[in-house]
């Protein structure tokens, strides 16, 4: 793909279209585009927050902060290339995590300053939640796994432990643990899906 083609592709994404509409409208008057951008980005911000902060409430706070910041930047025309809104959002997420880890208070000030201006400020309620599984079904499928795979999955997921920590407890290398873990989770997923044990969480 050439640079021109890549740029053209970037400009046509739904995020880029929404961002351009917000940037080109008088501040606060592109509500439909703002709602669309929120709908597209909120789940992705939540995932980023959960991965890096390991806390659902902190993830919701991060999502709210970055959404408010992004909308503010677009409304004020400070995002010079609206079609690169995803790059901006990713950078804002990383900075927010760094600040959060350092105990910065700026996000709270920003939320207090702008929360009323963004009608969907309560992102924790609106953020799409992942699927929830019937734990008895998961347990039944876990019991079908070989003992070693079951133990690795329990040790890995009970506290979200990396492979090195699990391996140290079981006398395995981190590489061994990852292989066993991948095999086990694949079998578990297939078993749970066959049993139709998934129910979607209410929004």
């Amino acid at each position: 793909m050439t640079a021109d083609t890549a740029a053209a592709t970037l400009a046509e994404t739904p995020e880029a279209r929404a961002a351009r509409q917000i940037a080109s409208a008088p501040p606060g008057e592109a509500r439909a585009a703002e709602a669309e951008l929120y709908r597209l980005l909120a789940p992705r911000l939540r995932r980023f927050g959960q991965r890096h902060l390991r806390d659902a409430h902190a993830a919701a706070d991060l999502a709210q902060h970055v959404m408010v910041l992004t909308i503010e930047q677009l409304r004020d025309g400070r995002l010079r290339e609206p079609e690169r809104v995803l790059s901006f959002v990713l950078g804002a997420c990383r900075l927010t995590v760094q600040h959060q880890r350092r105990g910065e208070r700026r996000r709270e000030e920003l939320l207090q300053l702008h929360a009323d201006a963004v009608p969907y400020a309560d992102l924790s309620a609106g953020i799409h939640a992942g699927p929830r599984l019937d734990h008895q079904r998961v347990a039944d499928c876990l019991e079908r796994l070989p003992e070693r795979e079951r133990a690795v999955l329990v040790l890995s997921f009970y506290d979200d432990q990396p492979s090195e920590a699990v391996g140290a407890q079981l006398g395995l290398t981190a590489g061994n643990v990852r292989v066993i873990r991948h095999r086990g989770i694949d079998k578990l997923r297939r078993c749970v899906q066959q049993g139709d044990g998934v129910r979607r969480a209410a929004a």
Partner: protein
């Protein structure tokens, strides 16, 4: 070169093992950043990650609900105790037996079976329960640390609390090229909690 992530450039999506390593902090910094960037654009991979996270939460929930049995290392049991869970442990030497029970407010039941594990390559077990005469439950490829000198087994607590009086016998077996060799036999005389 991060081949799995590079593969996304060809297929458009991340393999499940890359997502899993990413979620469990097993990917290096460069890979993590690439996955972060990809997930900011790709909802299909985002949903795939959500499914994996849900499986993980399902595992955690099942364990906390006491519906999973598993062999675990001693540090994990210590960790559970440190979290404030009520543990009931029974230590049994090879050939030994123990009278055991489960209280209504116990959270975890652990049997600690002392066993010589030096030189063992693979460990199996056979479980026989007096309520199921003639039935032998086979447990294959138990994880173990050969330095530990014991095997710890967590039971399905929810089920244990409902069981009547019974005797369970677990035999640990070293799997060797010419067959299985008994390492130890452990007997548990279980009594239901009075009034339970």
């Amino acid at each position: 070169m991060n081949t799995p992530v590079a593969a996304a450039a060809t297929t458009g999506h991340l393999p499940p093992d890359v997502l899993l390593d990413y979620w469990l902090h097993d990917s290096d910094e460069a890979t993590t950043e690439r996955v972060d960037a990809h997930l900011m654009e790709c909802d299909a991979c985002g949903h795939a990650l959500d499914e994996l996270v849900a499986l993980g939460e399902g595992i955690r929930s099942a364990f906390r609900a006491g519906v999973v049995s598993t062999v675990v290392p001693a540090p994990f049991v210590q960790h559970l105790a440190a979290q404030g869970l009520r543990l009931r442990e029974y230590r049994v030497p090879p050939g030994g037996s123990v009278n055991c029970t489960v209280a209504p407010d116990d959270d975890v039941l652990v049997s600690r079976m002392e066993v010589p594990l030096a030189g063992v390559q693979r460990l199996d077990a056979v479980l026989e329960i007096s309520t199921e005469p003639g039935v032998r439950h086979e447990l294959h490829d138990l994880p173990f640390d050969s330095r530990a000198g014991e095997v710890l087994h967590l039971y399905r607590m929810a089920q244990m609390k409902r069981l009547p009086d019974h005797t369970a016998r677990l035999t640990l077996l070293a799997v060797e090229p010419d067959g299985r060799r008994e390492l130890g036999r452990y007997t548990f005389h279980h009594r239901a909690w009075p009034g339970g």
